[in-house]
């Protein structure tokens, strides 16, 4: 380790497999075992991942900090760095540095109801906080998940979420916009159609979390507000172009904040009083 915060630390891809046509799962471990075990982060934080020769890009951590040793990412192939990542096989080396950003305010969320609303690849950051809540189940009151995807084959971690439905200590509602398989047993419709299925929550003591495609925010936020969740307890995580992750390169600036330092987790109040957030 040196004192240069920009230095990518070598890490090995321990496991990788396809989640959907264009999304892959990566399980990664730092070569330095001590670093692997002491890498501390909060759900909602992100890391900068380097692929030799292709460059560096920010990715949210999908694993929960309650399971140390391995870092997990869900990555969609959209650009040059992700294309290079997709070409890498298990055992290949990448560079990782971080964690960066604020992450979810776990201290404040303890003892509250947690309502997680996921759209598509929005599962990537929210899986971290959900698994953290489940690993520390006694610290939270009600935990509920509403998860929507375009079609069954695009529901990332499908099996994981079907398994959650079997647990008695949380609520899990799944939906697809359209069923092209003919044997989808869950709901059909956009994710907001799941809200009526939700059992009663205590809105004053609820944190509402949302992540998904940009189009979804407006509608989900409206549902959260309708439920009576206070604006500062509605949390979302956003993405921006980033080149440094530590507030120097400027690319993720919004109004007077940097997404990398002051985000990527923002409240609904932030969205209302800062422009350009969503």
């Amino acid at each position: 380790m040196n004192d240069n915060p920009f230095t990518p630390q070598s890490a090995r891809i321990v496991r990788t497999y396809r989640l959907t046509d264009d999304v892959k799962f990566f399980q990664v471990r730092f070569l330095d075992m001590e670093q692997a075990l002491t890498f501390k982060y909060r759900p909602g934080q992100f890391a900068m991942v380097s692929v030799l020769g292709a460059g560096e890009a920010p990715f949210c951590l999908s694993s929960p900090p309650s399971r140390p040793g391995l870092l997990e990412f869900c990555i969609r192939k959209v650009g040059s760095v992700t294309s290079a990542l997709f070409d890498l096989k298990e055992n290949a080396l990448i560079g990782v540095r971080g964690p960066y950003g604020n992450g979810f305010p776990l201290d404040q969320m303890v003892g509250k109801d947690i309502l997680i609303t996921i759209g598509g690849l929005g599962v990537a950051p929210l899986r971290s906080v959900l698994l953290y809540c489940l690993d520390n189940r006694d610290q939270f009151r009600k935990v509920a998940v509403l998860y929507g995807a375009k079609k069954p084959s695009e529901m990332i971690f499908r099996e994981e979420y079907f398994a959650l439905k079997e647990r008695g200590d949380l609520e899990c509602h799944l939906a697809v916009d359209a069923d092209d398989t003919g044997h989808w047993t869950e709901n059909i419709g956009v994710v907001t159609t799941l809200f009526p299925k939700l059992s009663k929550i205590n809105p004053e003591k609820t944190y509402g979390l949302v992540c998904g495609p940009p189009v979804m925010y407006k509608y989900v936020l409206r549902e959260f507000v309708k439920l009576g969740i206070p604006k500062h307890q509605i949390l979302m995580t956003l993405e921006r172009r980033m080149k440094c992750g530590v507030g120097k390169c400027g690319h993720c600036a919004i109004d007077y904040i940097y997404t990398c330092l002051d985000g990527p987790v923002f409240t609904y109040w932030d969205v209302l009083h800062m422009r350009e957030l969503i």
């Binding site: 230095t7 560096e56 690319h251 109004d255 904040i257 330092l261």
Partner: protein, 352 residues
């Protein structure tokens, strides 16, 4: 702070001695402009310059440099572009520019490239006289009380020399016999008179106190769209601004056997792809949005974070922007003046 004086005839002998310690950089003539350059022949140094084309940030974070070299074994930090320097002839506004960058580059995380270059550079400031584009008095950055090792005020046959740091004192002690401690009352009076005259020499004034509120109140004003139409999105304003810090990072592969390089280069938020993410989504596709971001950062955001604007009044955007979009014309537009009066492209559109 200790203030002593140096006879002008002793100036070159002093430079002679201290330049043995580290390379000397100073403003020299470059075409019809000035630029900071390495100087071995002291007669090249321009003592009465206005602003240099590029601010001294180019010595702390060069326009493009290697952050890392990389091989299959990993990434190796590259600091080879950093060497000890003595930077002479930097004006108060530009020293304020560096102090502003200090804040940005050390906020929460320290940028080792900037910081190491900064620590290895001795700052020898020099007094200046404003031209019609300087408005450092409006930003209160026309005088400087910190951020230099030595500061030279050009006053008749002497330089009045402020010793601002222990390292500055070390330089003096290399040739103590060249300096004089005694400042007569008459000489001090001359300095006071000079300072007063300089205060009155600033012709361009901008009211910065009102800017954060005006930025907020005029956020949706149509003049931003007009500015967007006039703007060439060339990024020049960012390149010449002493406090613009944005950069891009790219990996370059080399021919077989040679390590690749991770390159860091200056970037500008006025360029089209600045806020574009993978997949093509661009959060600021319109020039108006990008210009507004530039000015939000300078005039509003920096005030809320650090208590003052990040503009230091050097006037470089005034002399550089080909279509006259600069802190002064934006400020005037925010205060309600018709932007068509000063943005060239709009003027020519109106004529045709």
């Amino acid at each position: 702070m200790r203030i002593i004086k140096l006879k002008k005839s002793h100036f070159h002998p002093f430079l002679e001695t201290i330049s043995q310690k580290a390379h000397l950089w100073a403003p020299v003539k470059k075409g019809d402009k000035y630029a900071f350059d390495r100087v071995e022949d002291f007669s090249r140094i321009e003592m009465k310059t206005t602003r240099t084309l590029l601010p001294p940030k180019k010595l702390m974070v060069p326009p493009s440099f290697n952050m890392f070299s990389f091989t299959a074994d990993g990434y190796r930090e590259d600091l080879s572009h950093i060497s000890p320097k003595i930077l002479f002839g930097i004006h108060p506004c530009d020293i304020h520019g560096l102090l502003t960058l200090d804040k940005l580059f050390t906020y929460q995380y320290s940028d080792p490239y900037y910081l190491k270059a900064r620590q290895k550079t001795l700052i020898l400031g020099l007094s200046c006289w404003p031209d019609e584009y300087c408005f450092a008095k409006s930003t209160r950055t026309h005088i400087i009380e910190e951020g230099f090792d030595l500061f030279f005020t050009d006053l008749e046959e002497y330089f009045l020399v402020w010793v601002g740091s222990s390292q500055g004192d070390d330089l003096i002690r290399m040739r103590p016999e060249l300096f004089e401690e005694n400042l007569t009352d008459a000489y001090i009076q001359r300095y006071i008179r000079w300072q007063k005259e300089r205060e009155n020499a600033y012709r361009t004034e901008i009211n910065f106190v009102a800017m954060p509120d005006l930025m907020e109140l005029k956020h949706k004003s149509a003049f931003w769209d007009e500015a967007g139409r006039a703007c060439l999105a060339c990024g020049s304003c960012s390149m010449v601004c002493p406090t613009c810090n944005c950069y891009n990072v790219q990996d370059k592969l080399a021919l077989a056997g040679k390590p690749g390089r991770r390159l860091r280069s200056w970037d500008s938020c006025t360029l089209l792809d600045y806020s574009q993410v993978a997949g093509g989504e661009n959060f600021r596709e319109h020039k108006a949005d990008r210009l507004r971001l530039w000015y939000t950062h300078k005039l509003q955001a920096f005030v809320s974070k650090y208590g003052k604007p990040s503009c230091v009044g050097c006037g470089r955007c005034l002399v550089t922007c080909p279509v006259e979009i600069n802190v002064q014309t934006i400020a005037k537009s925010l205060q309600g003046e018709d932007p068509k009066a000063f943005w060239y492209r709009l003027q020519s559109e109106a004529k045709s």
